[in-house]
């Protein structure tokens, strides 16, 4: 089996290095006390409102990381669920966390237990509220839809990676009148969430969530680093468009920017000490 390496496209490797540097430098800045601004995200402001409604109605809150396999997306989703659980613990609101991935389920049990502990209510933790339903897509979907219907949930939080099952969750929640907040990195599912949920957190906003909720310097600094990286991407795209328009798509600079093996000619020209 062959794997991708930096040598396949040095430009991409340089970009990765730059993004890492931008993130780390801004984390250090934030730790040194720099005041960093983060814009308002209405979907995240609505989390407390949704929890409040569940508390008033005495109906459960569901948290669904979907079929997300364990990785950065799952960690981010569980960080958000941990925050929600801390809020829930203050009012003793019932909750259900429904996972379609066994590894995420195992980590979720620990994360939710920690959240109740940190909120000072370890007595409210019930391992049965964190459930692994199935790792089969539509078996999981039917399990979640059934639970939402039976327990008439008042608020549903869907954060993670979703596939075709996203609309089943969102429409079922809509039918029982739940406030629904969704955040996903799966851009193909964004239209479904936008159509069926009250608030949708799109794309990189998903990764901004933990910074927004906790206001921790490390996370805020990382967010500013991401914005600088996005600016670099925008400038590179613009530069690439201008260069390709003027010099053509076969120009050496365009090859250096993106084509696999585009650096081969560059290195051979450097080694030969002349032009191509």
């Amino acid at each position: 089996m062959s794997y991708q390496h930096a040598q396949d496209n040095w430009f991409a490797a340089i970009v990765i290095g730059f993004i890492a540097l931008a993130v780390l430098v801004n984390i250090i800045r934030a730790r040194m006390g720099a005041q960093l601004y983060i814009r308002r995200i209405p979907g995240l402001d609505a989390i407390d409102e949704a929890i409040g409604r569940s508390t008033e109605l005495g109906r459960p809150v569901t948290m669904i990381p979907g079929m997300t396999a364990f990785g950065v997306v799952a960690v981010q989703a569980l960080t958000i669920f941990k925050y929600i659980t801390k809020q829930i613990a203050r009012f003793a609101t019932p909750m259900r966390l429904l996972s379609g991935d066994p590894t995420v389920f195992a980590v979720a049990q620990e994360a939710i237990y920690d959240a109740y502990n940190e909120a000072g209510r370890p007595d409210l933790y019930d391992a049965d509220n964190i459930r692994f339903l199935s790792d089969r897509q539509f078996a999981f979907a039917s399990g979640v839809a059934g639970l939402i219907q039976r327990e008439r949930v008042a608020a549903s939080f869907m954060f993670g990676e979703f596939f075709a099952e996203s609309l089943i969750f969102a429409e079922t929640g809509n039918m029982v009148g739940a406030i629904q907040i969704a955040g996903t990195v799966s851009f193909t599912q964004v239209p479904f969430f936008v159509a069926a949920c009250d608030y949708t957190i799109i794309g990189e906003e998903f990764y901004a969530t933990s910074a927004y909720l906790s206001r921790e310097p490390v996370l805020l600094g990382s967010l500013v680093g991401q914005d600088i990286a996005k600016l670099l991407f925008a400038l590179t795209t613009l530069g690439g468009v201008v260069a390709a328009t003027i010099a053509g798509t076969d120009a050496p600079i365009i090859k250096l920017l993106g084509q696999p093996g585009g650096w081969d000619a560059f290195w051979s020209s450097v080694l030969k000490g002349g032009g191509q």
Binding site: V75, E110, A111, R131, F132, F138, E204
Partner: protein
């Protein structure tokens, strides 16, 4: 020693003679169990700070391994002419590392299944609300597991494939599970309709633009779009000739299929790519925070 020499020569234990293979595999599994059983109590006795130091170190080393494998040059043929130009010295370790992740996933699957069965057993024993559903789940779980295990054993010729087993597995898997999956999937068509109805209700300028654009795309990608554009309106099909005037070029691109294609490729695709860029950068930043143990969420 002989077995180890064989192992080194043949690279994998699956190529060893059967007796040695079973013995070595048993030793490896037992060794792993002893290691884990020994490691867990040691970790539990450590103070939280010490435990965190171990986790931080292991996380950093694991991340460093994958980063180094990616960034180290792969083509060493200038120095070692016989070396494979598509890998560096860390590349062969990638697959075993991924196998370890799969094994952890398999262990977690057992944990998840145990949790599910325990919950529903409690529901039945304590006769909680709607405990009948739990009975259905437990019966379905046991039946499906029995037939699946027996069928797998029969496929590996470790059990007899009786007509009852064959028929039972077929009824449970092909005629029940697959059909239930298809039924759930088909629900999405109705949900799309109800969700689209709410999204397309014209309540604002944005909703009006969404509605209009969606109509154009939906009609443009089905034969009705081509029928309206080329048969009813009589617009020219295909690309305009190279020396055509501006009006002719406009007519060639004014059909609903062309407009729909333009919306999808010139408006929709760039917006999706922008989201993908943002997601990629966000994921990378998150990975760096996890690698350096700066993320305090669930870690």
């Amino acid at each position: 020693m002989h077995m180890l020499t064989n192992l080194m020569a043949q690279q994998t234990i699956w190529q060893l003679p059967e007796g040695s293979r079973v013995l070595l595999a048993t030793l490896i599994v037992l060794g792993a169990f002893v290691l884990i059983l020994g490691l867990v109590p040691v970790l539990q006795t450590l103070p939280p700070r010490g435990r965190r130091a171990i986790i931080v170190t292991v996380t950093f080393l694991a991340g460093l391994f994958f980063a180094a494998e990616f960034f180290l040059p792969v083509d060493w043929t200038a120095i070692f002419p016989k070396d494979d130009p598509k890998r560096n010295f860390l590349t062969p370790a990638i697959q075993p590392a991924q196998n370890v992740l799969q094994i952890i996933g398999a262990l977690a699957l057992g944990l998840g299944t145990f949790g599910l069965v325990r919950l529903h057993m409690r529901n039945v024993v304590q006769k909680r609300t709607q405990w009948g559903y739990s009975v259905v789940l437990l019966v379905a779980f046991v039946t499906m597991a029995t037939f699946s295990i027996l069928n797998t054993l029969a496929e590996k010729q470790l059990a007899t494939k009786t007509p009852l087993l064959e028929r039972g597995f077929s009824i449970l898997f092909d005629y029940t599970l697959v059909q239930l999956d298809a039924a759930m999937f088909s629900l999405i068509a109705f949900y799309i309709f109800s969700a689209a109805y709410r999204a397309f209700r014209i309540r604002s300028v944005e909703a009006s633009i969404l509605m209009f654009t969606a109509m154009v795309v939906m009609i443009g990608v089905v034969p009705l779009g081509a029928y309206i554009s080329y048969t009813i309106l009589g617009l020219p099909q295909g690309s305009a000739p190279e020396n055509a005037d501006l009006w002719t070029r406009f007519l060639h691109s004014a059909g609903l299929p062309s407009i729909s294609h333009w919306i999808l490729t010139a408006l929709n695709a760039p917006a999706q790519r922008a989201i993908e860029f943002g997601v990629g950068i966000g994921g990378l930043a998150m990975a760096i925070r996890l690698w350096l143990s700066l993320e305090r969420g669930v870690t």
